[in-house]
């Protein structure tokens, strides 16, 4: 791609350079100069309809919309003159003519561009004495509801449906002050990206039905992390209040998900807050006594597995991880089972599904966030061949003890696995839910899940990205990697339990010799490409 020519121009007297063709608003934002706006969104084509971004330009007599005005050599832009201020006030007064100002009960309150822009640039009163227009409040589909009165007709949502999802459900109907967003009767807003329209709606007109009245946004704390709903690894912000995740919203990463994420990804935190979540340890001995002290988990598992290998040899034990574990967890898991001297190492993954392709967004067919991590750390055979061998080993009783990870969100173990596992002499299982049908001698251990762990995952395109802790673990639960490390200690393989950042240091070059960074912090907020996407055969989506 040839670089566009740089042009020199001025904003408020400040010299700025930007590639020819750049719109003034973008250049201003990049230079840290505030230009208020509504309809402009960097991920959509500019529309110039809301008039909020008016600025003065030396090549025009009247104020121009900076979102549709390209920069030009020698252009002089003014964003803070009296004319501009007056124009902004006028635009905002018109915008508030029919706006209900129901901020106290509006979900968008606190992150609403209309609130912010009126606060910063608006008039201090309204001359409107007529009754306000009333518009419908209704469902637009199964995920999104419309509060028509709040709509400022910026057309971000309709452009999203045209340009990004390509599904075209939303339209502005009627005209003038009757204009409002709607769907064509019988064609509701139903696409896998629908909730992005809620994120980009500058006001509270489009509302996520799932999040409605769940939290006041200013009470939530944001943590940058990644979605673990599939192999794409969309960059997200996890928003929690009082240690409970309330909402997940996309975070911009041009290399992965741009400004968007899918609707399903917004649900990945549900198992963490589910009422059925397993919170207690149940460490059962062969004679049926139950211990619930998490401190004893590592030795209980270790003794269980040891007993099996004493009775039947080390080859009689197996370890099954999952494609939902972080690279650090997988790494300790691998070392541990190497130490236990068994070749039976597998990993569960959710079955492939059809990839979905939208105009500007792909949802890959692999619903596992760290399948590639499993391939690199445990080996490709772990996901299929080894699993089959382990299953038949359990069925023919050559394998008698196992440690498995059952943390794949809503995915349940297939029936043949459930019955096979109940035949074992000893089973340790990290799970998100209570499990029945366990052998007498077993350890049922709560698994950790989305938003709770620190570490890294390798997405389907070979990009290593950072998971961060948004919510602290429920008090009763310990991290799996700690328990695995304690077991390593019992084997004499590790002197002390270390955090994931230290595991990353150990793991990094051992797994990716060409890795240029040594600490997890260096992954930053956008991750780094550790493998070339085209060399990666797994990239091909399953049809």
């Amino acid at each position: 791609m040839s670089e566009a020519k740089l042009v020199k121009f001025k904003i408020n007297g400040q010299e700025i350079e930007a590639p020819a063709g750049t719109m003034v608003i973008k250049a201003a934002h990049e230079a840290g100069i505030d230009v208020p706006h509504f309809c402009y969104h960097p991920g959509l084509t500019p529309d110039g309809n809301c008039r909020m971004c008016l600025v003065e330009a030396s090549n025009a007599r009247k104020p121009v919309a900076s979102c549709v005005t390209p920069v030009a050599e020698g252009l002089e832009i003014t964003t803070d003159s009296d004319t501009v201020k007056e124009a902004r006030e006028g635009v905002l007064e018109l915008m508030l003519l029919n706006h209900p100002l129901d901020c106290p009960i509006c979900d968008k309150s606190g992150e609403c561009m209309l609130q912010d822009n009126v606060y910063d640039h608006g008039p201090d009163n309204s001359r409107m004495t007529e009754p306000k227009m009333m518009k419908p409040t209704k469902d637009l589909g199964s995920t999104v509801a419309l509060w028509g009165n709040r709509c400022i007709v910026c057309q971000r949502c309709t452009r999203f449906c045209e340009e990004v999802s390509g599904t075209g459900e939303l339209a502005i109907i009627h005209r003038g002050d009757s204009s409002v967003v709607d769907v064509f009767p019988g064609y509701p807003l139903e696409n896998d990206l629908s909730l992005n329209t809620v994120d980009i709606c500058p006001v509270g007109a489009l509302i996520s039905k799932d999040f409605l009245y769940e939290a006041r946004v200013w009470n939530m704390k944001d943590t940058p992390s990644i979605c673990t709903g599939c192999s794409k690894g969309c960059n997200v912000e996890i928003q929690q209040e009082r240690n409970q995740t309330r909402r997940i919203v996309p975070r911009h990463n041009p290399e992965v998900n741009d400004y968007w994420m899918c609707d399903e990804g917004r649900e990945v935190f549900k198992p963490a807050v589910s009422e059925d979540r397993l919170l207690d340890y149940q460490l059962r001995t062969a004679d049926g006594t139950i211990d619930t002290n998490p401190k004893n988990a590592a030795s209980a598992i270790f003794n269980g597995l040891n007993q099996v290998s004493a009775n039947h040899g080390t080859q009689a034990i197996a370890g099954i991880g999952s494609a939902f574990m972080s690279c650090e967890e997988l790494y300790v898991f691998k070392l541990l089972f190497d130490g236990l001297q068994t070749p039976h190492l597998g990993a569960f993954s959710r079955p492939q599904r059809e990839a979905k392709s939208f105009k500007q967004f792909e949802i890959p067919g692999d619903p596992n966030p760290n399948r590639l991590g499993v391939e690199r750390i445990l080996g490709r055979e772990a996901l299929e061949e080894n699993l089959e061998k382990i299953l038949s080993g359990i069925q023919n009783q050559s394998i008698r003890g196992a440690l498995i990870f059952d943390d794949l969100l809503d995915w349940d173990l297939p029936a043949e696995w459930q019955s096979a596992l109940s035949q074992l002499e000893f089973l340790a299982i990290f799970s998100l839910r209570d499990r029945t049908h366990l052998p007498q001698h077993s350890c049922l251990l709560p698994a950790t899940t989305f938003g709770e762990k620190d570490g890294s995952m390798l997405n389907g395109e070979g990009r290593l990205q950072r998971l961060r802790i948004a919510t602290q673990l429920p008090r009763t639960i310990r991290y799996e990697h700690e328990i695995l490390q304690q077991m390593q200690q019992e084997l004499g393989m590790r002197s002390k339990v270390v955090p994931p950042s230290a595991l990353f240091k150990e793991m990094g070059k051992a797994v990716w010799p060409q890795l240029e960074i040594s600490t997890i912090r260096e992954l930053g907020d956008q991750g780094i490409q550790v493998e070339s996407p085209t060399e990666n055969p797994q990239r091909a989506t399953v049809s």
Binding site: G141, H174, F184, G186
Partner: protein, 171 residues
């Protein structure tokens, strides 16, 4: 597909309509006169208006399939304009211009007269399905105000007597 979508799509299938061969030919010809399909939408809506005697959900669905546009987009364009005949409107659609010059020349009297005579308010249709009354914006015939457009014809410099005669002449 969610339950929501299934129900609404099923409803839509029941009411499906299609363009006649003749209308299709006309539409093909319209396409040749515009740079792209979006641009041809207004004249195609005109064809549909005649074809289906007013445009409703089924007609928009049919146009969407014909033109490869989303029904939402067509719905947005269609509702922007007041001058297309909507499904369910009467045999005669009386569009009274209510913009300033007509207002100065007595269009309110015209509207009130029609309201009394037909027993309906603007936006309504008589029970026998014969007349629909609408107040519309400028019909671009200010020099002959007051103006009423009835179906495709303009009736200009109207007096209330003219109006009565006109109404009687309709079947």
């Amino acid at each position: 597909m969610s339950a929501f979508q299934e129900i609404t799509q099923a409803a839509r299938e029941d009411e499906r309509v299609e363009f006649s061969a003749e209308a299709k030919k006309k539409i093909e010809w319209i396409y040749t006169r515009y740079p792209n399909r979006e641009a041809a939408l207004l004249p195609v809506l005109r064809v549909a208006e005649k074809e289906f005697d007013g445009i409703g959900a089924a007609a928009i669905d049919c146009i969407a399939r014909e033109m490869g546009l989303s029904p939402g987009y067509i719905y947005g364009v269609f509702t922007f304009y007041t001058h297309y005949k909507r499904a369910g409107e009467g045999k005669y659609v009386l569009q009274v211009c209510a913009t300033l010059p007509c207002a100065l020349r007595g269009c309110r009297d015209v509207v009130h007269h029609l309201e009394d005579k037909l027993g309906i308010k603007p936006g309504e249709t008589t029970e026998d399905g014969k007349f629909t009354l609408k107040k519309v914006e400028c019909l671009a015939s200010c020099d002959t105000a007051p103006v009423v457009q009835i179906n495709d014809d303009y009736h200009e410099n109207l007096t209330l007597e003219d109006l009565d005669k006109l109404l009687e002449s309709f079947e």
